[in-house]
């Protein structure tokens, strides 16, 4: 009975529904503007909304996340620039379709398939997450330690071309997360005697610097380039077309939700795997893959929005982010005094059901906004960068100041912004840094709790892991994921 009440909380408040709509709309357009990303928007936004009520804040963020994952596909189709990593696979066949003058058709089909994928992901989230959370209650500190290590291995998929650069960035994030007074002993760590550092480095400042300011600086390289205009015609797809691709969409959904739900994987891997599945399973596509096959558009688009619901499962039940955006959402929940994990589901079930409900609305709004407003959309994606980039930089300054009313946080943000710029220029991804900061506390505390519970004996800890079936499964998963990112893992030749 309570569940129904929590679920319908949002339905009784039109302002919350309006915020989800606003978030979804913003997400679609932010994701669609080249140079802006959903991670950038979410990181800047949470610094402004931290003083809001948690429901209001979540309404906006959930909308932006859902809209942004979808919006990223639009630039992939129109400009061959994926707005988000989860839209990389979309560009492979979406852009060739646009070049053939079928941009509208591609956008319409991707909108409907994203919505179908979104609904399936939300359904799985609502049904599976309570069981996962209940199961997680039996987890020992060593199991959380292994889970967090599994989460940090996500650097493998965040690392771009170089795994070792990803490992460095992830370790840097873990280290930044330890700055301040040790939560267990109150000992100073990396404070250099500066009292302001006792509370640690502002997570928001690092995030805005790394995702907002540094990306704006990178975009200055392309300031003179004019955007390519694509003709967008009728976008609402025919029933015939939807029904034709529905079986593939449902099959891709199962890939999306499973991959999205695994700690350490996200929408980008889900989309690529779904694309690979479509390529292997479609015997005679109308157009070859890579040249505008609609199957190559349907599969990743269903899977990446489906993975949104999936990614919330480890995030809400275990406190492990599935991708950069869910890492930021964990940060937003921290700001509101909430700790994602199994206890959140028990102590604050309203938050979980509210998120499910908000995702549902976001998915509906995504369909509405996705199939309308094409004229406005064409104008927005041509917004001049000479105006856009200074605005992003100004919002980064204001955002980093707003959380603690601290000028010092602005300097941290700028420092990490400039550092992030050079990291990007030299081929490092900044996602692992954020992931490291989020998981730092979880790894540090559970490592120490595990070792203390074994009387300081590391041998006993290993025996404990090897003799517990759950720990053994988690250890095997860690080893499997780690090895799969190395060159020693057998791969199919393209």
């Amino acid at each position: 009975m309570d569940i129904i009440q929590y679920f319908f909380n949002i339905w009784s408040d039109p302002s919350l529904i309006a915020l989800v709509a606003l978030g979804t709309f913003t997400g679609i357009y932010v994701g669609a503007i080249p140079g802006l990303s959903v991670t950038m928007a979410t990181s800047i936004l949470i610094s402004f909304t931290f003083s809001w009520e948690v429901y209001e804040d979540l309404s906006l963020i959930v909308g932006i996340y859902m809209g942004g994952v979808y919006g990223g596909s639009r630039t992939a189709i129109l400009l061959n620039i994926p707005g988000a990593p989860s839209a990389i696979a979309t560009a492979l066949d979406g852009y060739p379709l646009a070049k053939k003058g079928k941009a509208g058709e591609a956008i319409g089909l991707s909108t409907v398939m994203s919505t179908i994928g979104g609904f399936i992901g939300i359904f799985v989230l609502a049904t599976a997450a309570p069981y996962v959370a209940e199961f997680a209650l039996i987890f020992q500190p060593r199991d959380y330690l292994l889970l967090a290590i599994l989460g940090i291995l996500l650097v493998g998929s965040f690392s771009g071309d170089s795994l070792i650069k990803g490992i460095f960035a992830g370790a840097l994030g873990l280290l930044i997360g330890t700055v301040g007074l040790d939560p267990l002993t109150a000992e100073e760590r990396f404070t250099f005697g500066v009292v302001e550092l006792w509370g640690g480095i502002s997570f928001i400042a690092v995030m805005i610097g790394m995702f907002g300011a540094s990306e704006a600086l990178v975009q200055l390289h392309n300031i003179g380039k004019s955007s390519v205009k694509q003709k967008i015609n009728k976008i609402i797809p025919s029933w015939k077309s939807i029904l034709k691709y529905l079986p593939l969409s449902i099959k891709s959904s199962s890939i999306g939700v499973i991959i999205g739900a695994l700690p350490g994987t996200g929408g980008d891997i889900a989309a690529l795997m779904a694309y690979d599945y479509a390529k292997r399973s479609t015997k005679n596509p109308e157009t070859p893959f890579g040249e505008g096959a609609k199957e190559g558009l349907v599969a990743p688009e269903t899977a990446n929005n489906d993975a949104v619901g999936g990614a919330f499962i480890p995030m809400l039940t275990l406190g492990i982010p599935g991708d950069a955006v869910t890492a930021i959402i964990i940060g937003a929940l921290f700001i509101h005094g909430l700790n994602p994990g199994p206890m959140l589901m028990i102590e604050k079930p309203d938050i979980f059901w509210f998120i499910v409900s908000a995702l549902l609305f976001a998915n509906i709004f995504m369909l509405i906004f996705g199939l309308t407003g094409i004229r406005l959309f064409s104008k927005v994606i041509q917004m001049p960068k000479v105006v856009l980039i200074p605005l992003i930089l100004m919002l980064s300054i204001v955002g980093s100041y707003a959380v603690n009313n601290s000028i010092t946080d602005i300097y941290w943000m700028l420092g990490f912004g400039f550092f992030g710029y050079f990291l990007k220029e030299y081929g490092y991804q900044v996602g692992p840094v954020i992931l490291g900061i989020i998981l730092s506390k979880l790894i540090d505390q559970n490592w120490r709790r595990s070792i203390i519970s074994e009387g300081g004996d590391i041998g006993s800890l290993f025996i404990g892991i090897l003799t517990s079936p759950l720990s053994l499964v988690l250890l095997s998963s860690v080893l499997f994921v780690f090895l799969s990112h190395t060159k020693y893992w057998p791969r199919k030749k393209p």
């Binding site: 402004f48 909304t49 003083s51 071309d161 170089s162 070792i164 650069k165 490992i167 460095f168 370790a171 840097l172 873990l174 280290l175 330890t178 040790d182 267990l184 002993t185 000992e187 100073e188 760590r189 990396f190 300011a213 600086l217 200055l220 390289h221 300031i223 960068k385 000479v386 105006v387 980039i389 200074p390 605005l391 930089l393 100004m394 919002l395 300054i397 204001v398 100041y401 707003a402 009313n405 000028i407 602005i410 300097y411 700028l414 400039f418 710029y421 050079f422 220029e425 030299y426 790894i443 540090d444 490592w447 120490r448 070792i451 203390i452 300081g456 590391i458």
Partner: protein
């Protein structure tokens, strides 16, 4: 063309800085509690900073084996004039913010950087900066309740005066 077998100008120097930085952090981590015990406050920072040292050294060794990509120039492609000038603009903005206040410093930053990036169109820059700042300021003030440093402009007094004016207007 950039390839995986070539490095960009300044890359080796950047990695050397990362190695030195990582070594410094390892030394600092050791200073927290030394090799006291595996559950000491310094154990995790030491392990992590050690990973940073190892990974940065591997990156450095890999980097030294690569040839430099001659088609990329440091001052043209890595740190071009655009980035330097905008970085200076934003640093001045951050320094001005506390004492001069948000409105003036943000207006200076927006109009200045738009003017520079747009290669000189003063009226456009001043107009767009004014309009953007007006919208953002109202949005922050009304929707997000974010209060920025007011500096030399007495914003609180102006808002109070406006509120009184509206109340009086309604009474009339």
């Amino acid at each position: 063309m950039e390839t995986n077998n070539e490095k960009k100008p300044g890359e080796t120097a950047f990695v050397v800085i990362l190695v030195i930085f990582s070594l410094f952090l390892t030394w600092q981590a050791y200073g927290i509690s030394g090799f006291d015990s595996l559950s000491s406050p310094g154990s995790f920072p030491m392990a992590v900073s050690f990973i940073m040292v190892i990974s940065s050294i591997i990156i450095l060794l890999k980097s030294t084996k690569l040839g430099i990509n001659n088609s990329i120039l440091f001052w043209k492609d890595i740190l071009p004039k655009n980035i330097i000038i905008i970085s200076i603009f934003i640093l001045i903005f951050a320094l001005m913010l506390q004492n001069i206040g948000f409105l003036i410093s943000a207006y200076y930053f927006l109009s200045g950087s738009i003017y520079f990036l747009n290669k000189g169109n003063l009226k456009f820059s001043l107009g767009v900066a004014f309009l953007s700042l007006f919208i953002i300021y109202i949005l922050f003030h009304m929707v997000f309740s974010v209060i920025m440093p007011e500096g030399i402009i007495p914003e609180r007094e102006i808002w109070a005066w406006l509120e009184n004016f509206i109340i009086l207007w309604n009474i009339k």
